[in-house]
Subunit: 587 residues, 2 copies
């Protein structure tokens, strides 16, 4: 079925092909990827764009002795296909064999689990230094997309590489796109270099101290082979700037690059999604609805993203319409946070929308630039949930331990849509605190209960239901689990109290003190990793009392491609199991 690919099982086989066969191999790889992606979804544009580059790399270099490090590594599918993992693309029964990123557990041709951007240059520089320390001779090649270049870790790495005096090759895969459009001044220089066939008045890479090679057509295997042969065994750091087309070979994707960065399963004929997506409510569009109305009314309100505008519902139309109040800094989370602090200090009302896993890239800016300065920045933390992304590189369960222990921050955990919007509005309007809001990860839940508009009494929890004997303190998206457990207990004649703590950055100690009077058991539920989290603070508060505390949440572990409901069941986090535990503890 695959004329050339059927004969290619390893990089050695690539080296035996002539140029016509290499071109046929490129088509076969695209067909194999189309097979998987149309049925299972995945990163489409980045992989279709980098087929020829990957073939040329395996043709010229000797992987795994020569070592490739792919940035973000969401463009590694052709590499996986050429390094013994093609069945995961050609054979539906083997789709589950591979992750979506490089993975050393799968193959000796992969060196790192990577899923965050802008890391490849520094990681690969480490491989180069390790080689030099141990007397090795191999080539080290980092492959970085233009979108990732704007990240601080990438720029630090390129600057560091610029004074290395050894073999080190950086392939800059320039497709003029991040996930959405690129942002930042450097893209003017990339454009000038593209238009000048590698020549321009100035050059970012030589300014960072590196040698520079330009490849005008990065989807032309012959040009690539020539360029890679030219830099192979180089004894100096060098950038190979190649110009590729995102989605290359599938016209529908070439014409809508942002949409086809990542795709759900689709019909290859039409490009239409084959997944029934009811377009129902989600917190992204709820947020955009709220923010755009707010921005209409108040021109000092602005929204900030670091290259993931869709996280809070800012599609291309909204970005254009609100361009004076919507700032995409590109992949530059640190700048996003510092920028927000500056805006807040000069009269603006900034809202930064970010996924939990990427907020990790800006710990120090949250602490130093924002919290230490009491800048009234609003952070909206998405995918902060066991129900969020389940790739090991993207799990979002570490935000409570990470940011809730930073002084000065107010971290709110709404339990439903109405509470979320109320907290968001309060956060935007007040100017006393940095406020983060943990967007619920368990889908949009509504309430008809009255929701307060003012959260300025910090750490004030809501006693939703009085009770005795036991109390359940249920945080954010796990509130409904607590609510159900209380119902089950009540059917057994146990009248447990139910508390919505609202705040995860502090304790409502007066309320906790009342629990000491009439509760033997306190249960905490949080949709995150337990260690360093909210429940442990409750446990510590009750440490020298007679109240027994049990905390429910995730373990400190790198969960990977898990089923959320199975995991929760294994951890005993179901209303039934929690109710049973409480009943047992009360005996």
């Amino acid at each position: 079925m695959y004329e050339i690919l059927d004969r290619v099982n390893s990089p050695e086989d690539v080296k035996k092909l002539d140029i016509t066969e290499l071109k046929g191999l490129a088509q076969d790889i695209r067909d194999a990827m189309m097979n998987r992606l149309s049925k299972r979804g995945g990163h489409f544009g980045p992989n279709f764009g980098i087929v020829e580059t990957t073939i040329a790399m395996h043709y010229v270099f000797d992987s795994p002795k020569d070592k490739f490090v792919f940035d973000v590594s969401h463009q590694c599918y052709p590499h996986k296909i050429l390094t013994g993992r093609k069945l995961a693309y050609t054979d539906d029964a083997h789709f589950g064999d591979v992750s979506g990123y490089t993975n050393p557990e799968e193959s000796a041709h992969d060196f790192f689990n990577v899923g965050h951007t802008s890391t490849s240059v520094s990681l690969a520089a480490g491989l180069a230094k390790g080689r030099d320390l141990t007397g090795g001779k191999e080539n080290i090649i980092a492959v970085i997309g233009d979108g990732s270049l704007s990240g601080g870790e990438a720029l630090e790495g390129i600057d560091f590489a610029g004074e290395m005096d050894t073999n080190f090759i950086i392939v800059v895969n320039d497709n003029d796109m991040s996930i959405a459009e690129n942002h930042g001044g450097m893209y003017k220089n990339l454009k000038a270099l593209r238009e000048g066939n590698g020549k321009a008045e100035t050059n970012l890479f030589t300014a960072m101290g590196l040698d520079y090679v330009f490849v005008a057509d990065g989807n032309d295997i012959e040009q690539l082979i020539e360029a890679f042969k030219g830099v192979k065994d180089s004894t100096k750091p060098v950038v190979v700037h190649i110009v590729t087309k995102k989605g290359k070979g599938y016209a529908i994707a070439e014409n809508n690059k942002e949409h086809w960065h990542w795709s759900m399963p689709f019909d290859p004929e039409t490009g239409k999604s084959t997944v029934n997506w009811d377009g129902g409510e989600n917190y992204g569009s709820l947020t955009a609805d709220y923010l755009t109305k707010k921005m209409d009314k108040d021109k000092s309100v602005c929204a900030i993203t670091a290259a993931t505008p869709m996280v809070f519902g800012f599609d291309e139309k909204l970005r254009e319409k609100y361009k004076n109040q919507f700032f995409d800094v590109g992949i530059a989370e640190e700048t996003a946070v510092a920028l927000a602090s500056g805006i807040a200090k000069n009269g603006g009302k900034p809202v930064f929308g970010v996924n939990s896993t990427f907020m990790q890239r800006t710990y120090d800016q949250i602490m130093q630039d924002v919290c230490l300065n009491s800048s009234a920045v609003t952070f909206l933390v998405f995918s902060a949930s066991v129900y969020g992304m389940s790739d090991v590189t993207h799990i979002g369960i570490y935000d409570i331990p990470m940011i809730s222990n930073i002084p000065g921050l107010v971290y709110l955990a709404p339990t439903c849509a109405e509470e979320y919007i109320a907290m968001l509005d309060w956060a935007v309007e007040q100017d006393s605190y940095p406020v983060a809001i943990r967007v619920p990860g368990n889908g949009v839940v509504h309430t008809d209960m009255e929701i307060p508009a003012d959260y300025s009494e910090l750490n004030k929890a809501e006693l939703v239901k009085q009770g005795e004997g036991a109390a359940i303190i249920a945080v954010g998206g796990f509130y409904q689990i607590g609510e159900k457990a209380v119902k089950i207990l009540s059917q057994q004649g146990i009248n447990a109290a139910l508390i919505n703590p609202r705040f995860v950055t502090g304790l409502d100690t007066p309320m906790l003190d009342t629990l000491k009077e009439n509760c033997k058991v306190v249960i905490t539920l949080e949709d995150g990793s337990l260690d360093g989290g909210f429940g442990q603070k409750i446990a510590a508060y009750f440490g020298s009392s007679d109240v027994n505390v049990r905390c429910y949440g995730m373990c400190k572990e790198f969960y990977d491609r898990y089923n959320a409901n199975e995991l929760l069941d294994n951890l005993g986090i179901t209303p039934e199991k929690i109710a049973a535990d409480i009943a047992a503890m009360l005996k």
Copy 2:
């Protein structure tokens, strides 16, 4: 006494002076700084170098309407002197009036508390965006030293600024120095620009999309005034690259720039320190002693710093001697950590020495680049203690909450020098885990007890002394407090157990279970912030038992310029108070 400065109480007064008087003012400012620094110590080189720049800025711009953001802000002394705070430099009785960094609580001319590097451009970009959102017209000026340019946040910010279409001025204060020498490829470009009077084959700043102005002598007030007038009210982002001399005006400092970056009190005549510094043992030199011997024996061992080599004792001589095994990445903590991961994955044995407060800049790299990949990197965490730096921007008490909740990391807390070296040696030799070691902050303590060499049985604590009724679990540098409390209790007939947990990333649950049998009270002591830390994990573990737990440590708070012993006393963290608490709890 100060001919010109006596007449200058605000920026308005600066504007009234002619050029001769401005030069006299520069001398007066240096004299005033000399008065303070020779008696009290502080950042010497950066402030002596930036006197003329600061004068020219206040002459041309209208602070505080026009807003200055100083990077790191350790070069803000002349700015403080010109903005109403000169007494803190001229009058010994007022030394305590000011902090060492910009501080909005001191003056309307300061906008941020800043102490970490590379933040100014992004913060100032935020001020500019805030201005534009609210219809303001002022100038926004970021002042960044060349050393800070290599930090990811700075490079992200410059790239972001490059596509701003508004007034934004970045003053690059190029003195060819970080704290130690500069590192990174970009410094070749800065050198070329200096040598070419602002012209070179390529230009980092224009490559990032910014306009560019060069000032050959950044200690010449007239050149500076001309340049600043030229960019004032600019409607485009522009870099003003000025060349200054670190330590300018004090020959002794000009000739030894690294040493005079920061100075203890000294005799102005000779430059000799006036502080009796006994040169006794410290963990920096102990570490360098160990590492250099190790590097001699094993060429795959390497040490990494991000611009603070003296933290673990690598002075200029050692850096030169071990240049093949010692890597200073410059101010680029993210790259330092990713680099270490790559080195570990390619046969090297990397040791990254870093202050607790700066480790904050690399949370995501620790999690994603290192821990997720089980890279056997050794982190040495210095100043992680209430006894560390006490400026609010530099406190080192947040590392346990920050990194101990990351999966995969082993965080060790030695209690004395011998245990530290044993743990360090184990960490370097093993290849299974990333290992961080919390260097004790309470000075070098020795033991004659036998210290194990192997820590591969994770989370295994040491029961130093059996006991009953109460147990003290004393972490790292607070171990000796626990030891003393146990002695006091024993004089009262209470036989408390003493435990050195060794690990802060996990619990020795079998040992804790034995405590359930014979202890009513468990006390934890940690030299760090309690929230999210070690003690709360102990409390949670005992949450559903009858053991009472009380945790001692610091509060989640931005402590500033505190006295450590006073703070500990206020928090009840003295052997006497803890012993009294335990006795009371046992009653």
